[in-house]
Symmetry: D2
Subunit: 450 residues, 4 copies
C-alpha cells in the first residue's frame, strides 16, 4: 500500500507485481519443476507430490527473505531455503529435491514471466475496453465539428470523432503489437547454473519441455539468461502504449483550458477540486496519464541499456530489471485505466467547439478560399491574396468573408454563393467520415477475431 | 563527412540519412503526388509531367533551404518554393500545382518513411548476413569448450558455439521483429493542413490511395500526423537490436582481456594499436558497438517521450524526431556492420579456453560433483560437502578432485572412475548440442522463407 | 553544414564543435606539450619550436584521419601521424618528439576541454544577455495583469513581469551553476599510457604543471581518464539550462494559442508561416526550444550512464561521449539563442490578457472572496459558499459578483464596496511587485560582480 | 517493507522517503505555517497553538488519504482535511486556519524539501565516511603494484592505492557539489494559489520569511512552483555520485574475475554464494551498485524532461517528480552504503597482482623500453622496434627482455643493466606517489574545513 496506489496505479496490477505474488509465481515454478522432473524420472514422484502439497499452504516469511536477499544477492535462494525447510517438515526425503538442477535466475526470470502473463491478461482486457470506448466515442462525435489545431493554432475544421479515431487507430496497432510481444516474451527460463542444463544429463530437454507445458509457457530453443530482448521488448511495447495514452491526455487537457473549454473530465465527487480555488475543475486524470508518459520512456531506456549483460549472467544490469519492469507495467496500467475512464466520462461542449471555430473571424476557412482561388490564379497568387485578406481581417477586426467580398479582385473570381459554401466548415471536412469508417471497421473486424 | 563516419557508422546508411537524400526522397513525394492528383483529375496531367521532369534534374540549394528553414520552421517550405521556381521556368501553369493540397508534414514524414525503407532494405540484408555469420560460427565452435561465467566468475563449462547460438537466437527474433515493424511503419503520410484532405473535396481518398501505390507504401486508414507510434516503434525495434549487439561486443571484449585471452578481434593493419604501447591489441570494434549500445537507449527514450504530440501537429516533439531517428538508424547500422566484422574475423584460442577451465583447480566441476552427491545425501548436504571441499581446495591450493578423493566421507560415496567422469568438462555439457541444433535449424528455416 | 544548422543550432557553437576546430584544439595540446617538455628539458627546445611552427600552418587531412580512425579507434593517432610527417619535412630530429609521453586520451580529452572552454565563453555571454533581456522584460511588464494558470486552468491574477521574473530567477541560478561547473570541468587531462606519466621519470608533474599553465587549464591532482564526473557535470549543467528554456517556450507557446492569444513570437519575414494556411503565425522559435528540451535530457542520461568506465580507459563508454557532449552543447546553445530572440521580440496583447481575466465571469476572483469570507465563517464554510456560488454562476451564466450580491447570506457578510475591491484583480496581486524587485536586484547585483 | 529493501537500499533513507515520513514533513509545514501566520497577526495565536498541539499526536489515515488522493490529484488535500477534522475536535475556531492561504503544492514541495534535507544530512555523513575509507585504502595500498589496464588490456604498472586515489578524487568533488546543490535546493516553497501570496494582502513576504526561518529553509526571492531547476539539480547531483560509485564497482567486479582474482568482496556469512555452485563467491555488492548506476541516469532524464512545466503549475510533469526523486535518493543511498562496505572489506591479493603483471612476459614494460629507445632513435622507430619485438615475444612465447637482449640492434643501444631497470615495474610508476599525496592532502584539508 502506498500513498499513490489509487492515484497513479491500478490496484489489480499492483497486486500482480506485489512481493507476495512475486513469491507465489516463483513457487509455481518450483512446483512445476518438481512435477516435470518426476515425470522424467529425475526426482521421485513422492518428492514432487510433497513439494506441491507444501507449496499450497506455505507462506514465505517476506521479511526474512528480504534480509537474506542482501547476502545472497537475490530473493530466490532464501525463498528456496524456506521452502526446503517447510518440505522437510513433511517429507525429509523430498526436501533434497526442491529446486533440483535449477539456478536462481531460472526461478526469478520464469516468475517474472508468469507475473507478466497475468499482467498481459489484464492489459488485453483493458486495451479492448479502451478500444471499444474509443470506438463508441468516435462514432458518437463523428459530426461534432471543432477546430483542428496545428502548432497549437487553428488550422482547419475537423470533427471530434475523427480526432478520437486517430487515437483509436494507434490503440488498435498497440493491440496487435502486444499480442506479438506476448507471444515472444512468455517463454520459460530454464538452464541451470550456466544455461546448459548439465545437471540433468540427457534429460535436460525433456524436463524443459514438460516444465514449459506445465506452466503454459513457450519452450525456448536455448537459455536466454543474458539474451534480454524478450524482457526489453515488453518494456518497449508498453512504452509505445503509454506514449499514445499521453497524447490523448495531452489533447484533452489542452481542450479543458479555461479559454478553450471544449471538453472536460467527468466531475466526480471531489475529483479535481482545488484546495484554494473553489471554481476550478482540474484535469486530474490527464495529469496521472501524463505523469506516466513522462516516466515510462526513461525506464524503457534502462531496460534497453541493461541488455548488455555479461557472459552467462548479468552483473548489475540483470538486477536493474527487477524493479524496472514492474514499474513500467504499473505505470502503463495506471495510465490505461485512467485513459479509459477519461474517454468514457468526457463531457463535450459542442456549442463551444462551434463558437471557437468562429473565434478567428473566418480565418479558419482561409485554406478553403485559397484552394478555390488557386485553381484560377495559381497556388502562390491565391496564397498571397488570401494571406493579405487575412491580415486586413485581423487588423480591421472584420470577418474574412467580408474582406473578400469587398475586394474587387476576388469579388470577380468568387461569387456570394460560393463564398457561403466556402465558409461552411461542415462542407470542408474532406475524408473525415471515410477515415472514421475505416478505423471503426478495422476495430470491429479485429474484435471479432478475438 | 565527419571525423567519425568510418569509425562509428556505416557509410551506406549515412548516405541514406544525408541532407541530399532527405531532399531527394521529399521530391519523390512531390512527383508522386502530382502524378496521383493528375490521375484523379485534381491537377492537369501536364503539370504532373512537368513536375516529374523538372524534379529529375533539379538540384536543391541546400544552403538556402537551411537558411530559410530557420524562418519556416522546417525545410519543406523552402524546398517546395525552390521546386516551384524551377517548375515555373519550364511550365508556368504547372508551377501552381506543386505540393497541391499537401502540408509540410506530409512531405517531411513521407520523406522520412522513404528513407527508412531504404535503411530497412539495407538492414535486412545486413541482419541476414549477421545471422549467417553467427550460424557458421556457432557450428564451427559447437564443441569448443570454455568456461561459462556468471557474475563474471567461472560457473560451468559451456561451448563457444553454444554461446554464439544464444546470440543468434536473439538476432533471429530481431529479424522477425524488424519485419513486423517495417510493415507497420512504412505507411504514407498524407492529410493536408489538418489531416482531413479537405482541399480535395471528394477526391481525397482516391488521391491518397494512388499516391501510396505510386510510392509503394501502405495506405493508412487515417492521418497519423500526431499518432507517432509508427515512428517510435522503429526506434524501439532498432534499440532492441543494438542491445543484443552490445551484449555480443561486451562478451568478446571480456574474452579479450589480457588475463583471459580466449578470443581476439582480427588484427587488421593498424587496427587497435596504441599510440604509446606497442604490445597492445585493442578491442576497437567492440568499443564502437558498445558506444552505440550506450547511446541508442536514451535516443529511444526521446522517441517515446516525443509521442505526446499536441492536437493535429506536434510542437517541438515532432521536430525532435528529425535528427533522433536518423541517429538511431546510423548508430545501429554502424554497430551491426562492425558486429558482423567482429564475428567474421574473431580469432579463437581453444587451448587457452581449455587452460582457463583448469584455472580453478577443479572447482568449475563442483556442481557436477554436487549433483552426483545430492542424489545420495540430498541437495543441501551435498552442497555443504562440496562447498567445504572447495574451500579446502582454495586454501590448500590443491585440486578439488584430490580433496574429494582424500575425504573419507565422499570417498565412500563416489569412486575414482566416477570422479574421472565428473571432472571431465566435455561430459557435463547438458543440452548444449541440442540447443545449438535447434537454433541453427530455426535460422535455416527462416532463411528459406525469405 | 546541415539542413538544420540555422533552425536548431547556433552557428558559432557548431563551429566550435566542428571537426576542424576539434583538430585545431588537439593541435593546441600538442604544441603546448612540446613547449612544456622543452622547458623541463624533456625534449630539445628546437623540437618544440619546430612543432609549434609547423602546427601554425599545418592543415590536417580530415578525410584521411576519418579513414584511419576506423582502424585506430580514435582520431588522435592519425592526426599525430600526419603532424609528425609534417614536422619531419621541416626538422627530422623534431619529428620524434611529437606527442612525446602522452596518450591518445590526453589529447582527445584536453582538446574537448579546450572546445568546452570556447563554448562556455560563448554561453556565458549569451546567458548574461538572456538574463538582461528577461530583466528588461520583467520590469516592462511588471504591471501587465494576466490570468495565472494552474493545471492549465485560470487560478488567480498575476502579472506578466512576475511570470518573467520567475523565469529569470532560474536563469540567474544557471549562471552561478555554470561558473561552478566551468571551474571544475576545465582541467587538463595528462597522464600518459595509464595515467601515471611514467614515461617522464621524475619530470611528470613539472611537465603537467607547465602544460596546464600554457593552456590556461586547471592542474588536476591526478589523472581523470576514467573519472568522468567533470565531463558529465557539463552535461547535467547544460541539461538544467535547457529545462528552464523549455519551460519558457512552453509557456509562450501556450499563450500563443488561438483562443488565448496573449503573446506572440515576433513576426519575421516568412517566420512561422504555413505552407497551406495563410492566416497562421506558428511558434517556430518555441518549437525549436521545445525540441531541444525534448532531446537533451536523454543525452544527459547517456553522459551519466557512461561514467561507469573500466579501469584506466573506458571501452565504449568513453567513446560514447565524443559526439554526445557536443550535441548537448549544440542543442543548448541553439535553444539559448532562440529563447533570447523569443523574449526580445515577444509581442504582448495586454488588452487580451485583461479580457481573458474576465472570461470566467468573476470566477478568477473566487479565492479573494473566499479568503474574505473565511475570516468570518471559517475556511471550509467560506470555501463551500463560494464553490456553490461559482457553480450557480457557471450554470446561470452570470457574473460571480452578481450571484454573491443576490445571495442574502453573503450579502449580509460583505457589502458592495468590499465586493468592488474583491473583484479588482490589480488589488489581489500579493507579493508580485516585491518578488519582481528581489529578482531584479539580484540580477543587477550579480551583473556588477562580473 | 519490500523484498529488495535490504539488497538495493538503505533502510535509513527508505524511512526518510516512506509515506509516513512524507506526511510528517508535510505536517511540519502546516504547523510552522500557522505559527508564522500567528506571529504576523494573520491567524489567531490560539489557532497556531492548537494546530501545533494536535499535529504532535495526530496520526494520518494513510489508506484514506491514498483513496482520496485519487480524486484530489494529490495527497495534500485529504491530509489537510484529516488534520482539520482533528483540530476541530480540539478547537473549532482553530480548524478554519489550517493551511490558511497556502496551496497544495506549497506543502507538497516544502515537505519534499524537508525530506531531502534529512537525506542530505544522512548522505553527507556517508560521503565523508566513504571518502575517509577511500583515503585509508589509498594510503594502505599506495605501493601495491598491479597492472594498469586500458581497453581492458594491460597497459602499464600502476598501484592499487593510486587507482583508489582517482576514485577518491572524484568523490571529493562530489562532496563539494552536494554542498552547492544543497544550498540552492533547500528553499521554502510558498506562494499560495498562483504563487503570488495574494491571500495575505501585505503580509505575504513577512509570513514567508518567518515560515522559512521556522523551518530552517532558504527564503526564495519568488515562488518556484514551475521553476524546477532546484529539484532537478538534486537529481543530477545524485546522478553524478552514482556514476562514480558504479565506476568503482565496475573496476572491483572486473578484478574479482576468476582469471584475474586480484581483489574480492569480503565474504560475509552467506554473502554471494550460489544456489548451485558451491565454489563461487559472487560480487553481490558490486551488482547492487552497478544496478543503481544502470537505473539512476534514466531517472535523472525524467527529472530533466519534467522541467518543462506549464504556467503556474505543472500538469503531469510535476506529478512525475513525486516518486522519481525519492527513487533517485534511495538508489544512490543504497549504492553509497554498499560502496563503502565494499571498499572497507575489500580483500586484496598482492601476490596475484604481481603475478598478473608478469602474465605477458615483459610486454607491460614495453613502453618503458620504447621511451628509452625513443630518445636515441626517435619515437616512431622506437615504437616499431619494440612492437616488432613484442610480436616475436608473443609468437615465440619468450620474455620481451630476452628478445631485446638477443636483438643485435637494440643490444647496441641498451645494455643489460638498463634492461634490468627498464623491466622493473616499481621503477616505472611516474607521478603515482605524488598524485596520491595530492589527493590525500586535499581530502584531509576538506575534512578539517567541515
Amino acid at each position: 500500500m502506498s500513498l499513490f496506489d489509487d492515484l497513479f496505479y491500478s490496484r489489480a496490477v499492483r497486486e500482480i507485481f506485489s512481493d507476495g505474488n512475486r513469491l507465489l509465481r516463483m513457487l509455481d515454478f518450483e512446483v512445476a519443476l518438481a512435477k516435470a522432473e518426476a515425470e522424467c524420472g529425475v526426482v521421485p514422484a513422492t518428492a514432487a507430490i510433497a513439494i506441491a502439497a507444501v507449496s499450497k499452504t506455505f507462506t514465505p516469511d517476506i521479511r526474512a527473505i528480504a534480509r537474506a536477499a542482501a547476502q545472497a544477492g537475490n530473493p530466490a535462494l532464501p525463498l528456496i531455503q524456506q521452502l526446503t525447510v517447510a518440505v522437510k517438515e513433511r517429507d525429509t526425503a523430498a526436501a533434497r529435491y526442491v529446486h533440483w538442477g535449477a539456478t536462481s535466475q531460472d526461478v526469478i526470470d520464469t516468475g517474472t514471466v508468469l507475473q507478466a502473463r497475468q499482467a498481459f491478461d489484464w492489459m488485453e482486457v483493458e486495451l479492448r475496453s479502451m478500444c471499444a470506448e474509443l470506438a463508441t466515442f468516435a462514432d458518437r462525435h463523428r459530426e461534432t465539428i471543432m477546430p483542428g489545431r496545428t502548432w497549437l493554432q487553428h488550422a482547419l475544421p475537423i470533427t471530434l470523432g475523427w480526432k478520437a479515431a486517430e487515437w483509436l487507430d494507434a490503440m488498435l496497432r498497440h493491440k496487435v503489437r502486444l499480442r506479438e510481444v506476448r507471444e515472444r516474451a512468455l517463454a520459460l527460463q530454464f538452464g541451470g547454473a550456466a544455461g546448459t542444463l548439465a545437471a540433468f544429463g540427457n534429460e535436460g530437454r525433456a524436463v524443459l519441455e514438460k516444465l514449459a507445458r506445465e506452466l503454459g509457457l513457450a519452450q525456448p530453443d536455448i537459455a536466454w539468461h543474458t539474451s534480454r530482448d524478450r524482457v526489453s521488448e515488453i518494456a518497449t511495447g508498453l512504452g509505445l502504449i503509454t506514449g499514445t495514452l499521453g497524447k490523448i491526455a495531452k489533447d484533452i487537457s489542452l481542450l479543458m483550458q479555461t479559454e478553450i473549454a471544449e471538453a472536460f473530465e467527468a466531475a466526480g465527487a471531489g475529483r479535481g477540486t482545488s484546495s484554494t480555488m473553489p471554481q476550478k475543475r482540474n484535469p486530474v486524470l490527464c495529469s496521472v496519464i501524463l505523469a506516466a508518459a513522462a516516466r515510462v520512456p526513461a525506464l524503457v531506456a534502462t531496460a534497453l541499456s541493461s541488455m548488455v549483460q555479461e557472459h552467462e549472467r548479468g552483473l548489475g544490469n540483470w538486477q536493474s530489471e527487477w524493479e524496472t519492469l514492474p514499474e513500467i507495467f504499473n505505470l502503463t496500467a495506471g495510465a490505461l485505466v485512467r485513459a479509459r475512464e477519461l474517454v468514457a466520462g468526457l463531457e463535450v461542449d459542442r456549442e463551444r467547439m462551434r463558437a471557437n471555430l468562429d473565434l478567428t473571424p473566418g480565418l479558419i476557412m482561409a485554406e478553403a478560399v485559397s484552394m478555390a482561388l488557386a485553381s484560377r490564379v495559381g497556388k502562390n497568387s491565391a496564397h498571397e491574396i488570401v494571406q493579405r485578406a487575412c491580415r486586413v481581417a485581423v487588423e480591421e477586426k472584420k470577418h474574412l468573408r467580408e474582406i473578400l467580398q469587398e475586394d474587387t479582385e476576388t469579388g470577380k473570381l468568387i461569387d456570394n454563393a460560393e463564398l457561403d459554401r466556402l465558409f461552411d466548415p461542415s462542407a470542408y471536412l474532406g475524408v473525415t467520415q471515410k477515415s472514421i469508417d475505416r478505423v471503426l471497421d478495422r476495430a470491429a473486424a479485429e474484435e471479432e477475431e478475438f
